[in-house]
Symmetry: C2
Subunit: 357 residues, 2 copies
């Protein structure tokens, strides 16, 4: 604490990202990174662009990347905003669309950055309890006073909503923005993108950090009515004119030109997720049905923290959240089949020893 | 205007960066970019890093880059913060150190992003008039109620303060942060860096966009007491955990390992600035004494906007600010000797024709 800090900085509890260990040879299943490298086309495009051009500022409007996305998603460029990861876009959205005194709504168990954005922007919020099976309820989100934020698939549960339920929520909040955070949508969920033409209050946020294997490049994007996009641009232009560097813009555009690679790696993860879920259940774990690149699992008779520690001792990092309702769960990122096999071996031994104890 | 925008977004007047033309073959002297490419070591480091690593999140603490800076500036790593350009660091500083109801002070003619940061964060401000010769006064900054921000060298004037005057301002604001924005310090000014050990309320902000030729990479850094650095980290971690991508971190560190290249290009710009200033004065221009990579110049008898347009017709972009006190000035970035020669030829013809008219 310093006397030079503002009151808001003194009181905020910041978001804590998953551990990025510097040494060691960990199997890293704790931050939902993709186990496969990005498309070779991305690295190639970046290598070609790392030259004299870096002396110039990037294009502040990110046009070439937005045009690539517009072509890919069949949208107009002015329905797309590009940002430094989806987190930055969320930060801009809180600033642009939510108002102190008008509480927004999100689930009680969801991405833990949402309450941080609320606190730092003095935005009140109400949490909506997930159903007992961790699926997202629908009606409780109707008629919010300030806006709605839903991660779909939800994190850290992996549970995914039907599009018709999302549309009901949008229709029942005509005066407020409904933000659908689709960081994990490419792993089997159905995007709300197709609803943006019909609903000017819908903002869909996606990222290249997960299904596109580009967490290291920091690129996300939002799609919605052009007036919402202009709102995000105004928030950005009151903060930092250029948040995407030249190499990130070029690499990100290249990622959308290699569909075959994208589908191949994405489908591998979906397949591995299915196999890993089956094996976990055989070991007696409760596993939430996941449409993301992770599973959320619990073993009633073994404390999650004990499993967490045992995995760590064996060089395997997963994520544990010490929070109400989910403190006995672990979020385990889907890696390669080999990595999941190693993980299962540790878990098998642990559950066996536990029975023997 | 959209009914979904927050009140602060509805009312903010955003910062407008200099034009980044997409076509044409302009001599671009409008955004203070460096005319020389970055060190070849930077491009090489980036090309080597554009690989499988991109699937992983960057190091959120930016340790390797901060360690490179710590070695270069003889500081401790925890006295350094790394951000997405100095603009992002300024945005975090406004959030971390300034408070609604406690007005901050900055010059009436200075970087035009400062009032935008104030507006979006509901921070009041008082402007201190520059002296008639555009130098920065000292005593008027004593005893601010909320903090002081000084660009040194100042933009768009290029004028630079003595370090002892800066220290007097710091000493006379013991309860508030004094932020020295040193985006242009490497072109001949003396950095306030040496004062940070003595003054825990001093924050020095620098960038790689100007003297390091890396505007396209979006990297800036701040130096100060470790408690101020922690304040910036808290602002960042309430916004976006990773704002510097893997390639930017690696390229930025490499830029500080090639001192010879840095000094060579920097000295060329200083030399060209001197020659260009002399020639402008021969043509009858008033030129503010500059320690930056630009000059601020005016010709009493020719409207700046007319000169601006004539230069543009000839493929030369410079910057004009339609603002009180400076509307008859142009800010001209220092390019290569050849580019400045071309610029002078157009200006010579223009001043000659003006006399003939």
């Amino acid at each position: 604490m310093s006397k030079y800090w503002s009151n808001s900085i003194k009181s905020v509890e910041t978001y804590v990202p998953g551990e990025q260990p510097k040494g060691g040879n960990f199997i890293k299943l704790n931050t939902n990174e993709n186990p496969y490298p990005p498309s070779p086309a991305v690295a190639e495009a970046i290598r070609c662009a790392a030259d004299e051009r870096l002396r110039r500022y990037p294009d502040p409007s990110c046009d070439s990347f937005r045009e690539a996305l517009a072509g890919y998603y069949k949208l107009d460029k002015n329905q797309i905003f590009a940002g430094n990861g989806s987190d930055e876009i969320l930060a801009f959205a809180w600033k642009a669309f939510f108002e102190p005194g008008k509480p927004i709504m999100f689930a009680d168990v969801t991405y833990s950055f949402y309450p941080v954005y609320c606190k730092i922007n003095s935005i009140d919020f109400e949490t909506v309890p997930l159903n007992d099976d961790f699926t997202m309820p629908v009606e409780p989100f109707f008629g919010s006073r300030g806006g709605v934020v839903i991660a779909n698939p939800n994190a850290p549960t992996g549970s995914c909503m039907e599009l018709e339920d999302i549309e009901r929520i949008i229709k029942n909040n005509p005066e407020n923005v409904v933000l659908i955070d689709e960081a994990y949508i490419d792993f089997g969920g159905k995007s709300a993108l197709e609803l943006i033409e019909r609903h000017e209050n819908l903002l869909v946020v996606q990222t290249l950090s997960k299904a596109r294997s580009l967490a290291g490049l920091r690129v996300g994007f939002a799609m919605g009515d052009k007036d919402l996009i202009t709102g995000l641009e105004k928030a950005r232009d009151s903060f930092n004119s250029y948040t995407l560097d030249t190499l990130a813009l070029i690499g990100a555009a290249a990622a959308f030109e290699d569909e075959e690679y994208f589908l191949g790696t994405r489908n591998s993860i979906i397949r591995t997720r299915g196999e890993f879920t089956d094996e976990l259940r055989k070991l007696g774990f409760d596993v939430v049905e996941s449409k993301a690149n992770f599973v959320f699992a619990s073993k009633k008779d073994i404390p999650a923290l004990k499993i967490f520690k045992k995995l760590r001792e064996n060089g395997i990092l997963v994520r544990h959240f010490d929070k109400p309702r989910i403190s006995n769960y672990l979020r385990i990122t889907i890696g390669t089949p080999e990595q999941m096999k190693e993980t299962l071996q540790v878990l098998k031994k642990l559950t066996q020893n536990h029975i023997d104890e």
